[in-house]
């Protein structure tokens, strides 16, 4: 099919590519999208804005990778509530010179991921300007019984897990995170998830959110149990920071960090459960602060470097 040039041709392409999922009655093309009533389930909403030079470098990563990442980070937020994503809305400010090619690349990167998780691209807003690429993705999802997993339910004695190795995402992995939607739903069915978050700012910083929101609690992490990604070791060779430091403080891993009771922890650790990718990294304490048990009896206090998006110059 031939499409006309310009915005209307582009919208038509988006429209044709976006197959409507079961929860979406009206997608692209009217003033609003219309999503079906949720029959008793609650609706989850998350929005993320990504800017060239900050969350990605368009000239290095290319539009397909940027489109992928933009959707993946929002799907990761839905996963962190143990929800099921349904629809995505994409607003873009495209550099004018290359707007259409760029938009098609972004769309390609998003479409594969959207299809994989049965998410409908249900609407958006297309703009061009003289500035750098900005892309804002809003994803809606539905909660899954017995309800969304907040950051608030951790209790002293609970166990802390992560879904995969951490650190060094800057070497490229931050562009292609796998949102842990499937894993979260499987865990939500298997055990009672008391608190969960996705690791976007760094394990220490994100775990601190759980501890604070659950009522000023603390945690003890087992230094030898924290899964360190090969990339953390590689980056450590360049900058002299330990690979454990990278695993604790690098952002954009997009693994899940979650908390369950001691009894549920035992169930997850049993090999027959198909959760062999999980790592049990520590426990919740009544005493505030995060302590790192080094294995030789010594304990370090971790100072999470809370990532301040207003002040940091990091990408």
């Amino acid at each position: 099919m031939e499409y006309p040039a310009g915005e209307f041709g582009l919208i038509q392409r988006f429209r044709d590519r976006a197959k409507l999922g079961s929860g979406v009655r009206v997608g692209i093309g009217d003033d609003c999208a219309v999503l079906a009533a949720t029959h008793g389930c609650e609706t989850l909403v998350t929005t993320d804005m990504l800017m060239d030079g900050r969350h990605f470098r368009l000239d290095e990563a290319g539009p397909v990778a940027v489109g992928y990442k933009s959707l993946a980070v929002s799907l990761s937020d839905i996963a962190a509530m143990a929800g099921k994503p349904t629809a995505a809305f994409v607003a873009v400010a495209l550099p004018r010179a290359d707007a259409e090619t760029l938009a098609l690349g972004l769309l390609e990167g998003m479409t594969a991921l959207a299809n994989q998780f049965e998410v409908t691209l249900a609407g958006g807003d297309t703009n061009a300007w003289d500035g750098p690429l900005v892309i804002c993705v809003t994803v809606l999802g539905t909660t899954v019984p017995p309800g969304p997993v907040m950051r608030t339910g951790a209790r002293p004695g609970d166990r802390i897990f992560v879904t995969g190795p951490l650190g060094g995402s800057l070497l490229g992995r931050h562009l292609r995170p796998i949102p842990r939607v499937t894993e979260a739903l499987a865990l939500h069915e298997a055990v009672s998830l008391r608190a969960m978050i996705d690791v976007s700012d760094g394990l220490a910083s994100d775990l601190t959110h759980i501890l604070e929101e659950s009522g000023n609690l603390g945690a003890t992490l087992d230094a030898n149990a924290i899964p360190i990604h090969d990339d953390a070791a590689r980056i450590s060779g360049h900058d002299g920071r330990s690979s454990l430091d990278h695993a604790l403080n690098d952002g954009e891993d997009f693994e899940l960090c979650f908390v369950v009771s001691h009894a549920d922890a035992d169930r997850l650790i049993e090999p027959r459960d198909g959760f062999s990718y999980l790592r049990h990294i520590g426990r919740i304490d009544a005493e505030p602060g995060i302590r790192l048990a080094l294995g030789d009896g010594r304990t370090d206090l971790i100072q999470p470097r809370g990532f301040d998006h207003l002040r940091s110059h990091g990408s």
Copy 2:
């Protein structure tokens, strides 16, 4: 209350200001917002991205006006479906030098409007960078029985209305549109709205969307009935284009253009109905194209200048 500096203090301010409306169970502060189940109603979703230099000039308008406009344009999309807005999600890329002051100004501009329409600021994403201000607002709403008003239901013989005077919004009115949420709900209750759109790209262009989406229909507009805003007359004095041309083709009026049956039109025109602000401007034809009846028996064919957001350099 004292707030810490930086992103976390800012999020705390947002959180404290955002009273949770009845439809929002969890607002700012977790991975996603959680909206209550809608008990049989559908969910409306719209997203709009506004960029400095394109949709506003921050140095001229100031952050309060920009915050107001950013939310208003999305509320206008909910109005165009005759829905009730419930929650707003705001993602921003703030120029780093003045990020916090700017964010507070935007918040102030949005809060008044959100309170007026009982919309909860339920989430968002705060970033700073070296680029110009970009703000992306996503608004969710619920449909109101008998359902959302699409662009698709116009039929030959139907009548066309607008909710207020048009043209010349560039003189400043585009910064402070009143989203016609209340008017849309009153109309939805009084008559059967067959098609509706908000006038964002210009009456001729937006009416064309209704005509095309309703099955390649046409319309005849009465040149003398189209309500022309004083600003259209003022701007006409400067640029030599007629004030009617401005009323037909200027964007960002954010009035509603809607279509009802002949019988319903008669009901709306009766003075006792409290719809005296409405203007009956024409009728739907089976023949494609928009004709302008000039009153002296002559008829002009209107060429809508479809506003292409990828190619136009207009603000």
